[in-house]
């Protein structure tokens, strides 16, 4: 008998489950070296400090480059993004913001590049372009820039010796202690013979790790907690690390994540994406959004700067 469940996420954020219709797209998966394929608990000791990395972005203004004549106007977007980290010291019961990097970019379509003069106090836009002309592609370029900045920061922190949890998949596949934390499922990586483990996961349990050879990553699913009135995937998130870290470190990181992440899940009244959006990351996002600056003010600055370009 099928069950009907209301997701705790706010509707505007979509849902945690967004599976592609075509399962053939899923890459091949091989169980790792952790013994029988059944739910595992873990009680790893906490590291003294963990860094969480995330980024936020915001379009500041839509631009149009009009060359006149028969050429169609070219769309552009000016936007800001911020990436940053929270360092959590579990033993000291304290967390603080780490380096916050803010970038502002102007992206134009069809390879066009627009240079804006400095638009206001500390506001410098760097120029980028997309070969396509759809607004969607501009946003992709913008988003991509932020993802790169996130990845750079995560890599920098991991290199500095921190255990890093990055919000979203990881891109730089170094052998550092860096875990990607994925809260939205678009692909079910597990084939039918393995996927039965998901409903069996209890709160604070994970699957053994599995390899995704095509992506050069190791991964595992874990459930953040027990949720009344939930469904079989409620509170399930996926983590990934680079192959390069090796099996041993994969297991260590999987165990740490299984201990740590359930402690950090948020509650529905606190966060529209509870429980998957972790408390430190929610706090970080709030701070990053704030640091982007006042949107109406920046829009005005951009407008003024564009007028200078025209002169």
């Amino acid at each position: 008998m099928p069950r009907l469940v209301v997701e705790p996420w706010s509707a505007e954020y979509g849902g945690p489950l967004d599976f592609e219709t075509d399962p053939d797209e899923a890459p091949a998966v091989v169980p790792g070296s952790e013994g029988p394929w059944e739910p595992m608990a873990s009680e790893a000791s906490l590291p003294s400090v963990i860094a969480f990395v995330d980024g936020v972005r915001r379009p500041d203004a839509r631009l149009t480059v009009d060359e006149g004549g028969s050429a169609l106007p070219i769309p552009g977007v000016a936007g800001s993004y911020a990436v940053g980290a929270v360092r959590w010291y579990p033993e000291e019961c304290r967390s603080e913001f780490d380096e916050i990097r803010i970038e502002r970019v102007v992206v134009c379509g069809e390879g066009a590049k627009v240079e804006l003069p400095p638009v206001g106090p500390g506001l410098v836009y760097t120029s980028m372009s997309s070969p396509e002309r759809s607004v969607q592609s501009l946003v992709q370029t913008f988003h991509g820039a932020m993802r790169v900045a996130e990845d750079d920061l995560a890599e920098d922190l991991a290199r500095a010796g921190y255990l890093v949890f990055a919000d979203g998949p990881i891109n730089t596949l170094s052998a550092l202690r860096k875990v990607g934390y994925i809260k939205t499922h678009r692909v079910s990586y597990l084939p039918p013979e393995l996927i039965g483990i998901i409903p069996e996961l209890g709160g604070g349990q994970r699957t053994p790790f599995f390899r995704i050879p095509d992506y050069k990553r190791n991964s595992w699913y874990l459930r953040l907690g027990d949720f009344a009135d939930g469904h079989s995937w409620s509170g399930v998130v996926r983590c990934e690390v680079a192959h390069a870290v090796g099996d041993e470190m994969t297991i260590e990181l999987a165990n740490i994540s299984t201990t740590v992440l359930p402690m950090l899940g948020s509650e529905p009244f606190r966060d529209p994406r509870a429980p998957q959006n972790l408390v430190p990351i929610a706090g970080l996002e709030r701070e990053l959004r704030r640091r982007l600056g006042a949107a109406p003010l920046i829009h005005r600055f951009v407008t003024e700067a564009v007028q200078q370009v025209a002169v």
Binding site: P90, C93, S95, R270, P280, G283
Partner: protein, 571 residues
């Protein structure tokens, strides 16, 4: 020298009245701290804005819900910024260019000369320290606003039981009498009249306090007065009733050094003290004051001294031709007035005789009932305060023998207390009225002002207090009035007090309009002030200041008196 403590908060508007400060991580600001901000004003140059901290707040920025506190402080998984900020009320802008301090401006703690400027001490001609601020430095009042040059009088409010009002009044007096270097010519021959209305707290002003501490000594020295009991005090009390011929002061714990006071019938008549026997608020509703006024003036016309009996008088018709200063030998059967009882009987013979018609020169054309009421009250007064009037050598209070004159009236019934207060106020004010000079100053300390100058009703004492409040400052008669609730004291008396002081207040009382001079934050605190802490408002500073005054070096109870050596030593 100043040091930075934070910056003017930028996310809210700063105004010429108030601004907020976000406090640096390694600094603090507490209530009543003084700060200064320098603002560069276009075309005008640097402007200094001085202010006083009226509230201090702290919060986690980044916390959206109250329960986020646990995530931040207990589990530490939510990053947040602890922010401490302070609300500052502007006290002064210098030069006087009323602009708001710039957001982000560096806020410095005002110390040294900056602190004095924040408190306008540099503009005060004579800045008298009247307490210690929370920062341990003195707080000043501009004496010009007390001694009558530009303002006068002090009003002290506060609930009873914490002994704060009288203590502060005395502390203020000690500052006034102990700093002639600041008070200058107004200190010459300064005289203080203090009424002791409850307990015997004020009868030990000239005795050292054995509980006086070295810390308190330090505080006194920082105010520039060597701690010690009042150097020049005379103590007066009414004579004990039924003590025969011996005149013994009616005090409990202390009798040595206390003089008994009373008035002779001659003094009673000459000074018109009869009016102060009719001070009950209800006396004014009927025509009793009319009769009293008439009787008072007839007594002055009729009274003739008795030869060989100082202070005693007989009543003779002025038509017989006797003059002031004459003394006569009373005829046989002639009534000699030696006390209040015989005075009452003598008056009754004129206005309410057992036989025949009353003498209308004395009674006027009033209803017989009014005359009876008058006589009844006169006889009643005799039984209650008869001991205050007796023939014999003059024992009136001599306010010139010492700087501070303490009159102990706590043993008298209400009527008697009002009589003494009325008589002495009239005497003091009369003297100054005749001289017409502001100096030397005469300071009167009167507790329970609501009893003597109540908001409702009329009485000769209330009239006199209003007169003192209104005209006293130019005549150098300065009232230091104290009351539990200012809302029950005559408006005219309160309004004329340039210096307003308050100790702990009842919560409901603190909300009344009489305390409009306090800031809302000060009002809220007024409910919590501990003994020894007062709020002071003066015309030269636009915000009230909170101050503490040190423990007194004089005793306020018999048990506190420090004796020379241990009397039981060697036993």
């Amino acid at each position: 020298m100043s040091d930075a403590v934070g910056r003017v908060v930028a996310h809210r508007h700063s105004t010429t009245q108030e601004f907020r400060v976000v406090i640096d991580d390694d600094q603090y600001l507490q209530l009543d701290d003084l700060v200064v901000v320098r603002t560069l004003v276009p075309k005008a140059g640097e402007v200094q804005t001085y202010g006083i901290v009226t509230e201090v707040e702290a919060t986690y920025e980044g916390a959206t819900f109250e329960s986020d506190t646990r995530l931040i402080a207990e589990k530490g998984i939510l990053p947040a910024a602890k922010v401490r900020s302070a609300e500052v009320a502007v006290t002064r802008v210098d030069p006087e260019l009323w602009v708001a301090p710039d957001p982000g401006g560096v806020v410095e703690r005002a110390t040294g000369t900056e602190r004095l400027r924040a408190l306008y001490a540099d503009t005060m001609g004579r800045a008298l320290p009247v307490g210690i601020a929370r920062d341990g430095e003195p707080v000043y009042v501009d004496l010009d606003f007390f001694d009558g040059r530009t303002g006068g009088h002090m009003s002290i409010s506060g609930i009873s039981g914490v002994a704060t009002k009288t203590s502060f009044a005395l502390f203020f007096l000690r500052m006034l009498t102990g700093r002639p270097d600041i008070v200058q010519e107004a200190a010459n021959n300064l005289r203080v009249l203090v009424f002791n209305v409850k307990g015997e707290d004020l009868l030990y002003l000239d005795q050292p306090n054995k509980f006086f501490t070295p810390e308190a000594e330090q505080a006194w020295r920082s105010l520039g007065v060597a701690p010690g009991p009042f150097p020049s005090v005379s103590l007066w009390a009414p004579p004990r009733a039924n003590s025969g011929d011996a005149v013994v002061p009616d005090t409990g714990g202390r009798s040595e050094g206390v003089d008994a006071f009373r008035w002779t019938p001659r003094e009673f008549i000459d000074e018109g003290l009869l009016q102060f026997l009719f001070t009950d608020a209800t006396d004014n509703r009927n025509q009793i004051p009319f009769v009293e006024e008439r009787v008072r003036s007839q007594l002055q016309r009729f009274a003739v001294d008795v030869a060989g009996e100082p202070g005693a008088v007989v009543l003779r018709d002025p038509a017989e031709g006797h003059r002031r200063g004459d003394s006569v030998t009373p005829g046989k059967g002639e009534r000699v007035i030696r006390d209040l009882g015989s005075l009452a009987e003598a008056v009754a013979e004129f206005i309410d005789p057992d036989e025949g018609e009353p003498d209308q020169r004395w009674s006027g054309r009033v209803q017989p009932g009014t005359v009876s009421a008058f006589t009844r009250r006169l006889y009643a007064a005799e039984s209650r305060l008869g001991r205050l009037v007796a023939a014999g050598e003059s024992r009136r209070i001599d306010r010139s023998v010492a700087q501070v004159t303490v009159v102990a009236i706590q043993s008298l019934p209400d009527l008697g207390q009002r009589f003494v207060v009325g008589a002495l106020l009239a005497e003091t004010f009369g003297e100054k009225e005749r001289s017409g000079q502001r100096l030397p100053l005469s300071v009167i300390v009167l507790d329970e002002l609501n009893k003597y100058a109540p908001r409702e009703g009329q009485s000769p004492i209330k009239d006199m207090l209003i007169d003192i409040a209104q005209r006293g400052r130019s005549l150098g008669v300065l009232l230091v009035g104290a009351q539990q609730t200012a809302s029950r004291v005559a408006q005219e008396v309160l309004e004329n007090a340039a210096l307003r002081v308050s100790g702990r207040l009842d919560a409901a009382e603190a909300e009344r309009a009489e305390y409009g001079w306090m800031l809302p934050s000060t009002r809220a605190r007024a409910r919590l002030l501990k003994p020894g802490t007062m709020v002071l408002s003066q015309p030269s500073i636009p915000v009230p200041l909170v101050l503490e005054f040190p423990f007194p070096p004089w005793a306020t109870r018999k048990e506190e008196v420090a004796t020379e050596g241990d009397p039981f030593e060697g036993l």
